[in-house]
Subunit: 349 residues, 2 copies
Amino acid sequence: MRISMILRGVGALLAAIGALMSYVAASSLGGPLVLSDEGSFFVRGQNERSEFAAMRGNEPVAGTIRTGQMYVQFKIPVKSNAIPVILVHGANHSGVTYETTPDGREGWANYFVRNGFPVYVVDQAGRGRSGFNPSAINRAKAKGDTSAMPAIPIATREAAWASYRLGPKFPEFWADSRFPQAALDHYFSQAEPMGDGTLTGEFGAQTIAGLIALLEKIGPAVVLVHSQSGAYGLAVARAKPELVRALVSVEGDCVPLSDDDVAKVFNRVPLLSVWADHSFGNKARNGDERRNGCSGSVARIAAKGGPAKFMLLPELGIKGNSHMMMVETNNLQIADLIMGWVKQTAATR
Amino acid sequence: MRISMILRGVGALLAAIGALMSYVAASSLGGPLVLSDEGSFFVRGQNERSEFAAMRGNEPVAGTIRTGQMYVQFKIPVKSNAIPVILVHGANHSGVTYETTPDGREGWANYFVRNGFPVYVVDQAGRGRSGFNPSAINRAKAKGDTSAMPAIPIATREAAWASYRLGPKFPEFWADSRFPQAALDHYFSQAEPMGDGTLTGEFGAQTIAGLIALLEKIGPAVVLVHSQSGAYGLAVARAKPELVRALVSVEGDCVPLSDDDVAKVFNRVPLLSVWADHSFGNKARNGDERRNGCSGSVARIAAKGGPAKFMLLPELGIKGNSHMMMVETNNLQIADLIMGWVKQTAATR
């Protein structure tokens, strides 16, 4: 064997090792995303018949459509630490909340995957790819009678500006805002009309049932909720405490909690409530009142020895965040804090 | 250096090489999906003000919302052959059409990625994660006047059964059907009410404009359309022939085509029209008439020396497919045929 051949062989070996190392390193540091599986499915749904299921022009078409189903996107990393995380968006949004940020950076879904978590992103029932039920709208159109037709709420830009604390007054931002201001229009493209009212039961009931069905399908998981879905997280923990490995509530409601909830649910379901500094002094829905509700609930649980934590970002030196912290310029720093708590708390449960 | 250390070193080298080889092999054969980038963004959209943008209870809320935007999911493989493919669903669907099949197998999106194509999956404007405009519905609710409110069409199960040729009569399937019958309920969960009529312009206009904007953003790409979006594909090719590397029309309309379209658009935009056997004898929208329109258009283009091909699956020995061939049991076989044509035709353009 000639020296050149040996050298070529060694070179090939080194190249192969180098390539492998770059794959592995990149997977946790922002390079290639290496997934063992990725795709989507639906949970729940029923076959619902209506005389006004569809329309042909202005004429109603009777028939059967699927209603109440919930869309789930999943990404399973090759190197998994085996605690699945379910990411649930808030009002006026879809699962896009956790995808690429409006200014084109990595969102929480991919970042959790890069850190070894199997990730399940949902669209709340009646929104996004979880189709709403158009029957009541089509009935109203066909009959000229809107009495049984639900309204379709959505946050206007002006309302979101105050409620999400993107700025103190339109169009100014907080001076220290972490919101990607140049991408504001792009951000509002992900706003989603809420067709929840077209579905059976109370607003949100189908989403709560969908989250329970998802846990029953995939097994125990961390449930991360935001804002409006904070209340849904409480309901899911109450219904299936054995399947909720931990509840992470990003500026979501933490009340009401009954004494039974404290004693029998959150004595074993670890709860992390995360809040940003700009919530202080805010009188809108996502401000002082909701935050104080959370610090109060955490204190009640902790007083009974339960595994609850109130994480106030400014106490950790992190300032300038709005209600939409998962899309802001320091979103991965906040994700690191959440993942750190999850690994410490839920993994040892 | 002791022998054991050398052996250990060699062992580590071999393990590293083996791992690398398994990564590379798996990437094309169905194992790990290795992506250089993955995420989402929106194209277009406008800030639209309405006195009825939202509702608080039954009271209208004036304000600004984003309308007409189109959601785009992208997946870029590490090993790319650099022809991006845009996957566009048909009526009553969203981009879910190209994700995991209803019976849990690989969809066309991932399969194209595994074969080196950067893939962009859209939700047509007004559907799924491309939020519709609820203003006209909320105005009707607030005023008790439905005259300016559009209907919201959707395919009922019964209508889809005939139109998509899932079976000759409900609930029976064609004897040789490739449709994953046990997953029928799950399939209908992806049906999506069409909010297109709530947007500015003709039905589909915002989607056509969105596809053009997407091409302008990402550069030349193959556009793959299905059914209803066949007509949108023609419109996009007409508007931007230099950006459409090829148009793949899966049981989509191929008419009307003007003489100018034949001479100045499809003389350079390669067109592939794909049809399944169960379209024969079908009088519904996706049957004989549309298929004959396509074979006719392809013949007209080919007569002028244009790069058009009519692919009739039964002529290739592939039988039993419905209108939803991308979710059927032989979906990857059909994808292979399409990719083969794309590589041969579009790559050399």
